[in-house]
C-alpha cells in the first residue's frame, strides 16, 4: 500500500519546478543587477523611492480598510445566513457565492460604468466601494461555513449556564467563529493588497496601487526592480499567513 | 462438526513491526480444515494484524505462512483463496447489493447465468432475497453485514476471514448474528478465522480460541480449557470474571492466599514459591454459618444480576473478593466461605520484580529507560558498567502529573489483586513498568513515574 505514496512524485516535481523555483527566482532576481551580479541596489532603490513607498503604504491602507469593511458587513450577513430562523433557503447562499465565480475584471468594469452613469467622480471612495463589492463574498463564505457547521449545543450550553443571547454571541459564537474570519481575512486582504487592473479601472488611473507598479516595471523590462517589489509583497503575504497559523487551510468545496 | 485433523493454514514464527514497534512477536499456530478459530484479545494486541497477514494485505517481516503446506507469504491478496468480512463491511457504495456480491464472480469472468445463480443462492442463505437492487447505503447495519458476508462467501473461499464483523451491531442483533454465523459455519464446512475483542462472542462461537496480548500468543485452547484453566493472570482476567490474588505455594497440593492455607490439586511448583491464584466468582461457596467454612468475611455489597447475585465481601484478613451466587446475602452480615481444591487455579508468576537493563553513570547515578536516576552511593560497579536495576513493584511511585515524574507513562492494564492493584505502565518510549499500588487509577491515565534512590537495587547483568 505504501508504494502508492510515490504517485505524488510527478506532482511534487511539478510543484518544485512551477511553484518553488519561480519563487526562488523572484528572490534571486531581486538581488541581481541587469547583468546578473549580486547587488542590494534594487532594495535600496525601493526604500529611497518615495513614490514606491507611498504606493506601498497606500496599498496596505486600502487593503486593511477593505478587509475591515468586509468583516463589518460580512459577519452579520454570514450570521443571518447561517441562522436557521432567518434563512432556510440554499439559493440565498448560492447567490452570495455566485459573484466569486464571475470574472473580477468584468464585475469591476460594470461597477465603473455604473459610477460613470450616476456621475460619481472616480477616486478613493469608488476604489474602496469597488473593492468591497469585489471581495465581500470571499469574507461571507468562510464565516458562513464555520457558523453553519458549528455545533448548536455550544450556544445552548452557554444559555443553559445563564448567558443572555448577547453574552452567548460575544463569549461563545464569536470566538468559535474566528477561524472563519481568519480565512476570510486571508481571502480578502491578500488579493486587495496585490490588486492591479481593478484599481486602475475604479479610479480611472488616478490612484496607483502597488500591484500596478510591479506590473509597470515588469512590462518595461525592469525585471530586477520588479522582482524586488514582488519580494516586498511576498514578505507582507508571508507575515499575514503566519498570523493565520494553522487556520489557513483553504476550503476546497466552494462549488 | 467437520473439523478434520488436516491443517489448512499454519503460521510459523511470524513477526511484524511497524516503524520499529513490534506488533507481532514470534507468533506460531495452525488451523485445521473446517475449524472455527477465534483470535481474541484487547485492541492493539495484534489480532487484526495477524488476520491481515493471512489475507495478504501485509507480509511478515520474519517467519512464514503455509497454506496446505506451501508458503504463501509472497502471494498477493487477490490470488489467495480467502475472502474477508471487514469490520466496517467495506461494501462498495457505488454498486448495489447484487453488484457488490457479484463483484468477485464478474472478475473471474464467469457466465452471467452462473453468476446469477450463485448470487441468488447466497442472498437466500443470508435471508436478503428481495434486496438485490437496493443501494447498499440505504441498508441497516445488520443488513450491510449480511451483504458483506454474502459477498465473501459467494466466491467459495477456502477460508473465511472475519475482522470483528459484529462490533458495529447492537447487542440483540449481535446475539442473533452469532447464532446465524455458527449455523453457516456448520452448513458450509468452510474454515472460519474470526477476530474479536469480545470474550463472550469467542466462547460462544469458537472451536479453538487463540488469546493474544501485546503481540504474543498467551494461550491456545478450547473455550472450556481457556475458561477453566487460564495459563496466566492476563487470560484469567480477560476471559470472564475472576478473583486474581497473590499466593504462595507452600508445597505440592498446598497453597496459601488471602491469609489462609488451602488444599489444591496443583503440584510441581516447588516449595514456598510465589504464585498467582485465580478463583472464579461462582466457585466460592458462601453460607450463613461459619462451621464447615474455611474462612469468614463480611458482605460489603450485593447486586442482582438477572440470574445470580454479585457480591463483594471483605475477608477476615482484609482482602476483597467477588462472589456470584443464586442466593442473596445482606450487606453487613458475616458469612462463611469455602473453596474446593479443584476450583483453585494456580499459575506461575510471570514476574516478581521490575528489572531494567541499566548503565552506571557514576557512584550515585544510573541510567535506564532513557533517563538518569539517583541511587545510593555504591562502589561495586564503576561508571559505564552495564548492570541490572531492580525495583520492587510496590516501590514505584506514580504521580498525577506527568511533568512531576522522572519518566512519563500511561496506565496500560490493571489488575485488582484483592487488596491492591497491579498496574502495567507503558512509558512514552514503549517500555513496561509494573506497579503495585493502593491508589485507584484508570486505564489510559497519564502518570509520572518516580523511583526513590534507596529502592533501586543494582546487581550484575547475567549473560
Amino acid at each position: 500500500m505504501n508504494k502508492r505514496s510515490s504517485w505524488a512524485l510527478p506532482y511534487f516535481i511539478f510543484l518544485l519546478l512551477f511553484v518553488a523555483l519561480p519563487l526562488i527566482l523572484v528572490m534571486v532576481y531581486a538581488f541581481q543587477d541587469g547583468s546578473g551580479h549580486f547587488t542590494l541596489s534594487n532594495i535600496t532603490k525601493f526604500f529611497s523611492d518615495s513614490d514606491a513607498l507611498g504606493t506601498f503604504a497606500l496599498s496596505l491602507e486600502v487593503a486593511v480598510e477593505n478587509t475591515l469593511i468586509c468583516i463589518l458587513l460580512g459577519y452579520p450577513a454570514a450570521w443571518v445566513l447561517a441562522n436557521k430562523e432567518y434563512n432556510r433557503s440554499a439559493v440565498t447562499i448560492v447567490l452570495f457565492i455566485l459573484p466569486m465565480w464571475i470574472n473580477a475584471l468584468m464585475r469591476t468594469l460594470a461597477t465603473t460604468e455604473l459610477f460613470n452613469m450616476l456621475g460619481v467622480t472616480l477616486g478613493k471612495g469608488t476604489l474602496l466601494y469597488g473593492m468591497v463589492y469585489d471581495y465581500l463574498p470571499f469574507m461571507i463564505y468562510p464565516i458562513y461555513n464555520v457558523l453553519n457547521k458549528m455545533d448548536k449545543s455550544y450556544a445552548e450550553a452557554a444559555q443553559d449556564l445563564g448567558a443572555t443571547p448577547w453574552k452567548v454571541f460575544w463569549k461563545v459564537v464569536l470566538p468559535l467563529s474566528m477561524p472563519g474570519v481568519a480565512s476570510g481575512v486571508l481571502m480578502v486582504f491578500m488579493p486587495t493588497v496585490s490588486t492591479f487592473a481593478i484599481s486602475e479601472f475604479l479610479t480611472n488611473n488616478k490612484i496607483k496601487l502597488f500591484g500596478t507598479i510591479i506590473q509597470e516595471n515588469i512590462n518595461s523590462s525592469m525585471w530586477n526592480y520588479g522582482a524586488a517589489l514582488s519580494l516586498m509583497m511576498l514578505i507582507i503575504i508571508g507575515i499575514t499567513t503566519m498570523f493565520q497559523g494553522k487556520d489557513k487551510e483553504v476550503e476546497g468545496g466552494m462549488v | 462438526m467437520s473439523v478434520t485433523s488436516e491443517n489448512i493454514i499454519s503460521l510459523n514464527h511470524v513477526s511484524k513491526s511497524y516503524s520499529g514497534k513490534k506488533v507481532l512477536d514470534d507468533i506460531s499456530f495452525y488451523v485445521r480444515k473446517g475449524e472455527f478459530v477465534t483470535l481474541l484479545g484487547p485492541s492493539g494486541c495484534g489480532k487484526t494484524t495477524t488476520l491481515r497477514l493471512i489475507a495478504g494485505f501485509l507480509s511478515p517481516d520474519e517467519g512464514d505462512i503455509l497454506l496446505d503446506g506451501k508458503d504463501i507469504s509472497e502471494i498477493p491478496p487477490y490470488r489467495r483463496p480467502f475472502n474477508t468480512v471487514f469490520q466496517r463491511y467495506a461494501l462498495f457504495p457505488h454498486l448495489d447489493v447484487y453488484d457488490n456480491i457479484a463483484f468477485g464472480l464478474k472478475l473471474q469472468k464467469l457466465p452471467s447465468e452462473e453468476i446469477d445463480k450463485r448470487v441468488r443462492k447466497v442472498l437466500k442463505m443470508v435471508s436478503m432475497t428481495d434486496y438485490e437492487d437496493r443501494d447498499v447505503e440505504s441498508l441497516s447495519g445488520g443488513q450491510q453485514q449480511r451483504v458483506a458476508i454474502a459477498r465473501a462467501l459467494v466466491n467459495q473461499p477456502k477460508i473465511l476471514l472475519l475482522d470483528e464483523p459484529l462490533a458495529a451491531l447492537d447487542l440483540k442483533m449481535r446475539k442473533d448474528m452469532q447464532i446465524e454465523l455458527k449455523e453457516m459455519h456448520r452448513e458450509l464446512g468452510i474454515t472460519f478465522i474470526y477476530v474479536t475483542h469480545d470474550q463472550e462472542e469467542a466462547l460462544t462461537l469458537s472451536d479453538t480460541i487463540i488469546v493474544m496480548n501485546e503481540g504474543k500468543i498467551q494461550q491456545i485452547g478450547t473455550p472450556t480449557d481457556i475458561y477453566n484453566e487460564p495459563k496466566n493472570s492476563f487470560v484469567a482476567d480477560f476471559i470472564g470474571e475472576s478473583n486474581i490474588l497473590n499466593g504462595k505455594m507452600i508445597e505440592d497440593r498446598k497453597v496459601e492466599f488471602v491469609g489462609h492455607c488451602f488444599d489444591c490439586v496443583d503440584e510441581g511448583f516447588g516449595q514456598n514459591v510465589d504464585v498467582d491464584v485465580v478463583i472464579r466468582p461462582e466457585d466460592i461457596y458462601i453460607m450463613n454459618k461459619l462451621e464447615g467454612a474455611q474462612f469468614s468475611a463480611t458482605v460489603k455489597s450485593c447486586t442482582f444480576k438477572g440470574v445470580h447475585y454479585e457480591m463483594f465481601v471483605d475477608t477476615d484478613k482484609g482482602y476483597e473478593l467477588m462472589i456470584q451466587d443464586y442466593n442473596a446475602f445482606e450487606p453487613g452480615s458475616t458469612v462463611g466461605l469455602l473453596i474446593r481444591p479443584s476450583d483453585i487455579q494456580v499459575m506461575k508468576k510471570e514476574r516478581s520484580c521490575n528489572s531494567f537493563e541499566a548503565t552506571v553513570v557514576d557512584s550515585t547515578h544510573v541510567s535506564f529507560l532513557s533517563e538518569t536516576f539517583e541511587t545510593e552511593e555504591q562502589t561495586r560497579f564503576p561508571a559505564g558498567t552495564k548492570v541490572l536495576a531492580r525495583v520492587a513493584f510496590d516501590k514505584v511511585d506514580l504521580t498525577d502529573h506527568q511533568e512531576d515524574g522522572t519518566i512519563d507513562g500511561e496506565v496500560h492494564f490493571l489488575l485488582y489483586k484483592g487488596d491492591h492493584y497491579h498496574l502495567t505502565v507503558l512509558t512514552s518510549e514503549g517500555e513496561h513498568i509494573w506497579v503495585d499500588t493502593n491508589d485507584i487509577w484508570d486505564k489510559g491515565d497519564l502518570v509520572g513515574v518516580n523511583i526513590a534512590k534507596e529502592d533501586i537495587h543494582l546487581c550484575e547483568l547475567q549473560q
Binding site: N2, S5, A8, P10, Y11, F12, F18, V19, P22, L23, V26, V80, Y86, A90, T92, I93, F96, I97, I102, N103, L105, R107, L109, A110, E113, L114, N116, M117, L118, Y133, P191, V193, S194, F196, F201, G211, Q215, S230, M233, L234, I237, K248, V250, E251, G252, V255 | A55, F57, Y78, N83, F86, Y89, A90, F92, P93, F103, L107, Q108, S138, A152
Partner: protein, 269 residues
C-alpha cells in the same frame, strides 16, 4: 419578528448592491446606445453584432473567447488528472514528506495572482522558454491543480480504508481495483475539482497577463483589459457579460442545489 424582518432586509440590500452593476449591464445590453444609461429603445442589435461579428474588432474578441475556453478546458483536464494521482499519493504519505508537499500545494492558493504571474514570468525568462500558448497553459495548471488535490483528498479520507483491500480480497488486481472501485469513489471529488479548476482558469487575468508573451495571444480577461484601457467598454461587451453571467448562474445553481438536496437526503437518513 422585527428582528427577522431586519435580518432579511439586510441580506436583500447586500444582494441588491452586489448584483446592481451586473443587472444594470444586463438591462442596457438590450439597447443600442453607445453610452451606458442612455436608453434608446429595446433592441437586440448588440447581441446580433456580437454573434455575426459586424462590429469592429469582433473577430479577435471571438478568438479571445475561444482561447479562454480552450485554455480552461486543457488546464482543468490536465490538472484533474495530475491532481487526482497526486491526491492518492499524498493520502498514502505520512509525516514530514506529507507536510512538505501540502505546504507546496498551498502556496499557489495563497499567493496573490500577481506574484504567481511575475514569478512564472521570471521562470520562463530564466529557462529561455518563449512565452505563448504553452506557457499560459502550464501556468494555469500550476494554480489549478491545488484545488483539484483539495477536492479529491477529502473523498479519500471519507472512503472506508478497507474498500480498496476488499476489492483485492475479492480477486481484483491492483489495476482493476483502481478502475472499478477507487476511481468511482473519487469521481465526485474529481468533478468538483475540474469545475473549480475550470472556473479558476476562466477567471484568471494576472497570470495570463504575465505569461502570454508578445505573440498577441488574448484571453477574454486580457482582451477586456486592453480594450477598456483604450477608452471605455465597447457596447458589445454588455451582451457578452450578460450571457456569461447567466451561464455561471445556471451552472452554479444547478450544482449547488443538487448538492444541498443530496446533503438533506443524507441528513434525513
Amino acid at each position: 419578528m422585527m428582528k427577522k424582518i431586519l435580518a432579511k432586509c439586510y441580506i436583500w440590500i447586500l444582494l441588491i448592491l452586489l448584483y446592481a452593476p451586473i443587472l444594470f449591464i444586463a438591462v442596457f445590453s438590450f439597447t443600442e446606445s453607445k453610452v451606458l444609461g442612455n436608453w434608446t429603445g429595446f433592441s437586440t442589435q448588440l447581441y446580433q453584432n456580437l454573434f455575426t461579428g459586424s462590429m469592429q474588432g469582433t473577430g479577435s474578441l471571438m478568438r479571445a473567447v475561444e482561447n479562454t475556453l480552450l485554455i480552461a478546458l486543457i488546464a482543468a483536464g490536465i490538472s484533474t488528472l495530475l491532481g487526482t494521482v497526486a491526491a492518492i499519493g499524498i493520502h498514502n504519505m505520512r509525516g514530514r514528506k506529507r507536510q512538505v508537499i501540502s505546504f507546496l500545494n498551498n502556496i499557489p492558493m495563497i499567493n496573490p495572482d500577481i506574484i504567481t504571474g511575475v514569478s512564472l514570468f521570471l521562470l520562463f525568462v530564466f529557462l529561455h522558454i518563449s512565452q505563448g500558448y504553452v506557457t499560459v497553459v502550464l501556468a494555469h495548471i500550476s494554480f489549478c491543480t491545488p484545488y483539484v488535490v483539495l477536492s479529491v483528498l477529502p473523498k479519500l479520507t471519507q472512503m472506508n480504508p478497507n474498500i480498496y483491500e476488499a476489492a483485492l480480497d475479492l480477486g481484483a488486481t491492483p489495476g482493476q481495483a483502481l478502475r472499478k472501485v477507487l476511481i468511482p469513489q473519487l469521481r465526485p471529488g474529481m468533478i468538483s475539482g475540474f469545475v473549480l479548476a475550470f472556473t479558476m482558469s476562466l477567471d484568471d487575468f494576472a497570470v495570463t497577463f504575465f505569461t502570454r508573451g508578445t505573440v498577441g495571444l488574448d484571453t477574454l480577461s486580457t482582451y477586456i483589459y486592453t480594450d477598456a484601457r483604450k477608452g471605455g467598454l465597447t457596447p458589445e461587451f454588455r451582451p457578452l457579460i450578460t450571457i456569461m453571467f447567466l451561464c455561471v448562474l445556471l451552472l452554479l445553481l444547478f450544482i449547488n442545489i443538487r448538492q444541498f438536496r443530496a446533503e438533506k437526503k443524507q441528513n434525513l437518513k
